[in-house]
Amino acid sequence: MTGVRRFVRQVRAEQRVYWRNGASAIFTFFLPIFFVVVLGLFGRNRKVDGEPYSSFFIPGMLGMAIVMTTFAGLAITLVIRRERGMLKRVRGTPLPPAVYLGALVASTAIVLALETIVVLALGDLAFDVPLPDHWYEVIALVVAGAASFAGLGIAVTRYVPSAEGSSAVVNAIYLPILFASGAFFPVDDLPAVVSVLADALPLTHLLDALRAVFIDGGVGRDELLGLIVVALWGCGGAVLALRTFRWEPRGG
């Protein structure tokens, strides 16, 4: 019981920290919402494969929200805390490391949940993309994607040496992935090399599955196979995170 209370307290503290730091909240929470509005207005009367662009980009924006909050948000937050010696200080207290990290991940999940609701609501109310009948598949996919990208976000901290460069390095990793995986625009006519690379990335398959729910009414067999790629990346990230995560500044 005390363990649960301590965890809840820790999640609440992380929430307070997240919303008070305007810059990070704008970057990870409001930027995807801003993109939804801009791309929604831009694509009003356009079509993709005979379907309205809006039903293409709303799933894309869900994918972007997942990557921004879990992968980029966790990675940047953890690198900054590590380099400032915040993680090292926590390690010197009786708070179990798993509770500390777990609370940060849980807090990130709360942010993503709110963001998912806003994106879905905007899609429904402003851009004529109603909530799919299989809405629970959307939730399941967001949860699976979040788990996968959270693992990758924690894993990548090992390779980011300094707080100053953390945003730049992390942006340089996920922005090309967002484009190559087709979060914003269809990527059917990419050079072969890029599309082979994109097929190996988890976001491509996550977006395929999300779009299948919105456009085809549910996840089919092909999409389920694609989700194996998402799971593999997530497991790889989690294993790497457990093995290489550092609590002390690298002083880079």
Binding site: R6, A13, R16, N21, K88, R89, R91, P94
Partner: protein, 300 residues
């Protein structure tokens, strides 16, 4: 003697660099102990092994009867750590951070009591990012104290402080020890060790070269008499008059003497007789700082 910290033949290397080379020491409960040495002498390696951040390569370490490397959360309940550079959530208030940390311990001290102890009561509602450097450091101490530790580790607690802030920090630390907390601090200021510690170990290149009360570190050194060289006088002849050893000649003569009263009387008597003066006359006893510098000087 009730032992709080016991280290026997501790060794630690980083690659080819031997940072700690066979250190043995004991700290009693309630004692303020200072590990003194220049940068790179191995102070931080030792204190971080005691704090449980890294393991030893060889030797035995016991703090409060526990092995810091395997003590886990039970060990961390009983110690407090002030790191050289430990960050804090910048967007929380002082009181929020201290209360958050208090919740991590089984038997924390009341938050307001801790804030008062480090003199942060007035800044309790200020955001951490708006604190001054000195206030930040006091918050560091508050966060280390909130779990009511039996042993408090302070790694160079006053580096970068102005003299006033340093004195205030010393008072806080001395007050904690008066309450029964064992304090293990590292410093490269002899003055700090002298002002605070009951016992000091001087570390040089990973080895302890002296231990004891700060004022009893090694030979205090013999008294020196120094003055400008009078013209046309043989320095060796003056050494005979001074009944001392000539350490330096040239423009300035330095004699080391055993009985400064007698030597000074003989020298000034000689000068008056010769109707000359001993310009820039000084009688000097080497300070602890000099002793410390001599102890930690790299061997030629």
């Amino acid at each position: 003697m009730d032992i709080a910290i016991q280290i026997r033949d501790l060794r630690k290397s980083y690659g080819p660099l031997e940072a700690v080379r066979g250190v043995t020491l004991e700290v009693a409960r309630g004692e303020i102990f200072a590990l003194l040495g220049p940068n790179g002498a191995g102070k931080t390696s030792i204190v971080e092994i005691l704090e449980g951040y890294r393991g030893a390569d060889a030797g035995e370490v016991r703090v409060l009867g526990m092995d810091p490397a395997t003590g886990g959360t039970a060990y961390r309940e009983r110690i407090g750590i002030v790191l050289q550079a430990g960050g804090v959530y910048p967007y929380m208030s002082v009181r929020e951070v201290v209360a958050l940390f208090a919740g991590w311990y089984a038997k924390p001290r009341p938050v307001d009591e801790v804030l008062a102890k480090v003199d942060l009561g007035d800044a309790a509602d200020r955001r951490v990012r708006l604190l001054s450097g000195g206030q930040r450091r006091r918050l560091d101490v508050a966060l280390a104290l909130v779990g009511d530790p039996e042993v408090l580790f302070l790694d160079e607690p006053t580096t970068g402080f102005d003299p006033g802030a340093r004195r205030a920090a010393w008072e806080t630390i001395a007050g904690l020890a008066a309450g029964g907390t064992t304090i293990f601090l590292t410093t490269h200021y002899m003055e700090e060790a002298q002002a605070l510690a009951q016992r000091v170990a001087v570390l040089r290149q990973g080895e302890i070269v002296a231990t004891g009360h700060p004022s009893a570190l090694g030979e205090p050194g013999r008294t020196q008499i120094r003055f400008a060289s009078p013209t046309g006088v043989d320095a060796a002849a003056l050494a005979v008059i001074a009944e001392g050893t000539l350490l330096a000649s040239g423009d300035r003569l330095v004699f080391e003497v055993d009985d400064p009263t007698r030597s000074l009387h003989r020298l000034t008597g000689w000068a008056v007789e010769q109707q000359t003066t001993l310009e820039h006359l000084e009688v000097v006893r080497p300070s602890l700082e000099d002793v410390y510098l001599a102890l930690t000087a790299e061997e030629a």
